[in-house]
Symmetry: C2
Subunit: 465 residues, 2 copies
């Protein structure tokens, strides 16, 4: 296709700035419109560093655009989950039995700034801030924006429009309200919301608790997690029901009650958070939602990407990684030499949607695993067994977590099908006492493989996915 | 609760008119607002009789309001599926191995008229037609209507509002657009749409093909079905992709092509439909969608029921039955003597939603079963086996279809879990040659029961539903 085409990208978040960089590298004329101010000039989050999990699928995209090394300097490796029980005892549960497999904590803001810098190095990429998209006329390939600097509305025309404007996408809303085609759409909220808190750096600038782990205080119906930042702090997140259970967001309304709740369930964390009450009442409580939709594109005019197409809950640490992988997958389709954008968009959605649907479902699975199963005896036994299998047979076994997180050449859907079957196989073998962690690992591996194969075959015969 | 309360029902379709009747019987002051003209006075469908499948769950509701006998006179029993192959050969595949178990074809219009007549017998029930709901102010328990007779908008106040205004519910739209609470919502369209056609009565007023069956011409990617009407006609429905495959709704644009398609795939049906081409181009092509949402209620002010809360695709013949069962379940909750509407609505949604979610998923399963599996050897073998089991052990075995359709005391979700496990058990026993239709049926029954139990237990251990 003609490289001189004018591409309009709505949204310069993580996905939009990566897409701008990649399409800039490919020679398109790219204009990006971002609603917020330039985060490199304005401290939007007012000192709060919001961090994300960055892993192999995300890194695949960094390799594609050639900034892997720069990104590495922003990363803090997390080798496993540090599980905190109610008495304050901790166990480090590794993410993989293979030592080179770990995930990273990374600052959203710093990574976004890097991507913007890299994109703007291309003369054919222009990024405008403070331009909010109001709606998209997908039939005419134009979008209406409001310029927050002068309050003027204007219309932008393009050969193709990419909306990477996040979970609340304006273009997706135009698809939904336009009723010009059959648009399947879902928004699903969990009963739980989240609130960000923080563990500040130690007085010497160091970390108040173990740096290289994702800390989890799983309590069955709710949980607290913490991820490290480069400055010695941790960003802490409380996941709690809005209105169910003895303690919930709706009834944690006083300082005393918040301290009582943390003192009872997160005693060791509370000791690290003298700032808890201020954080708790200053920071918002936000919902946790999953968005799926289809089609993502309207003819060859417009395409949804990233969270705009598939917003997921954060429990697999794959939200950003999935959006970055979108760009890699889209880039592959561009290499196929399609005749027009419609054909590109169709091919992209066909190959990609099954995988983003899968990671959405996996992320909800992991919500239950993190808050609940990590404390459950049989699930822990399974996890210990899997670590031993991965360590002893690094080329023959990967857990569901590893398939999703460290096997970036396997799609999310394939990882989900194989991973769920393995989980079911091991849990049932353990429950039936057909395997025991003290058995010969080679025999265990063969039994797990055979049982997994059976499960997949039985599902296939029954026409189940 | 105070029986003198003013209840506003939006929509006098099948669910709304049944609800008005029941709440009228219970003594509430009921006002119903219906968008369409009174179908007892105006022939809305212009001679086209649209029929529906009516079965035990629906009949449970008719018993509740005491009109079972009147409804029976409107019913045409259908004992099974009449399967038409591409050569025009037919096999009657019964719905159950128990002779007293069958479904019925019933006219939507006549049943709706009966329910309206019965509701209006109560002085405390008033039904207004030609009043279209524009929006609902769920915080103030008022609704805005437009009176089509004088084009005047007016606001109606009530103690509680029930929206039974169908798949395109105005109140559900107010929930969605209002953004006053977290509203989970999905609309999912199939790739297929449908078009209604007809087989007219024979010249002597009789039926041109076998009366007491649901006729199916399953062709893998698409299908035709036919249900009998009391006047000797059949309502025929074509289910076909909008844009995929050699023949689809988008490319069936000429008389010649429509005749070619029917001649090739539905030869025996075409012979009964000299009126095909006129029907095809006069009648609309409609989409097939599933709607789920939550919560159904806003505090104690408003409640969604029927298709407004859970629209499903038609392939299990359960849409109307599920909506009728809503009223039965709601009535049970009213018997529990709650203190206020909020408590009633909460209890109702808690008990009911899992079941309407299940029938939505089952209906999509059956789309694939009807168009595809009915022609598949192993699925047919399973079905034959199940008929034999039901016939020989009428109190010990019920197929998934029977659990859903004829076991009205079991919820849809329980029917789904048990039925899917049974299907998987039988298909795998057949594929592994562990059972054979010529074996002793008692042994087969025991093997099926044991395998089903194993599947349910394995899923439970793995934390699957």
């Amino acid at each position: 296709m003609n490289k001189q085409q004018n591409i309009l990208i709505i949204g310069a978040g993580l996905c939009g700035s990566l897409l701008a960089l990649r399409l800039g590298q490919r020679g398109y004329n790219v204009t990006v419109m971002e609603m917020r101010p330039d985060l490199r000039k304005v401290n939007i989050s007012a000192g709060r560093s919001i961090n994300l999990a960055f892993s192999d699928r995300g890194n695949k995209a960094m390799k594609l655009v050639g900034i892997e090394d720069k990104v590495k300097t922003l990363c803090i490796p997390m080798n496993g989950r540090m599980l905190h029980d109610i008495e304050g005892n901790t166990i480090l549960a590794p993410y993989s039995g293979r030592e080179h497999e770990f995930i990273n904590s990374i600052s959203r803001g710093e990574l976004n700034a890097l991507l913007l810098d890299e994109a703007e190095k291309h003369k054919n990429v222009t990024i405008h801030f403070n331009r909010k998209c109001k709606s998209v006329d997908f039939e005419n390939t134009t979008a209406t924006f409001k310029d927050y600097e002068n309050n003027v509305e204007f219309i932008e025309d393009a050969d193709a429009i990419f909306a990477t404007d996040g979970a609340g996408s304006a273009m997706r809303k135009s698809y939904f309200l336009g009723k010009k085609f059959l648009f399947s759409f879902s928004q699903d909220y969990l009963t739980h919301g989240y609130k960000e808190l923080s563990i500040l750096p130690a007085e010497n600038g160091g970390y108040k608790t173990y740096k290289n782990a994702l800390h989890i205080w799983g309590r069955g119906d709710f949980m607290l997690i913490a991820l490290p930042n480069l400055d010695g702090s941790f960003t802490v997140t409380l996941f709690l029901s809005f209105d169910e259970g003895e303690y919930n967001f709706n009834n944690l309304t006083t300082k005393e009650r918040v301290l009582e709740f943390f003192g009872k369930y997160f005693k060791d964390a509370l000791e690290l958070m003298p700032n808890l009450v201020d954080d708790f009442f200053e920071n918002p409580t936000s919902p946790l939602g999953t968005v799926k939709c289809s089609p993502w594109h309207y003819k060859g005019n417009t395409l949804l990407m990233g969270d705009a197409a598939h917003a997921i809950v954060p429990f697999y640490g794959q939200g950003m990684n999935a959006s970055f992988e979108d760009v890699v997958e889209f880039d592959k389709v561009l290499d196929e030499h399609h005749q027009n954008w419609e054909s590109v968009f169709k091919a992209y959605e066909k190959t990609r949607k099954k995988d983003t649907d899968a990671i959405a479902d996996l992320a909800i699975d992991n919500f239950h695993e993190m808050k609940d199963h990590v404390n459950n005896a049989i699930f822990r036994e399974k996890r210990n067994l899997e670590m031993a299998l991965e360590k002893t047979f690094p080329n023959e076994y990967s857990s569901k977590y590893s398939l999703v997180t460290f096997n970036e050449d396997i799609g999310y859907r394939q990882a989900m099908l194989q991973g769920r079957a393995q989980d079911k196989a091991i849990l049932n073998l353990l429950a039936d006492k057909d395997i025991n962690i003290n058995d010969d690992l080679k025999i265990i591996l063969e039994k797990v493989k055979a049982a997994t194969k059976n499960i997949l075959e039985d599902d296939k015969i029954a026409g189940l996915k």
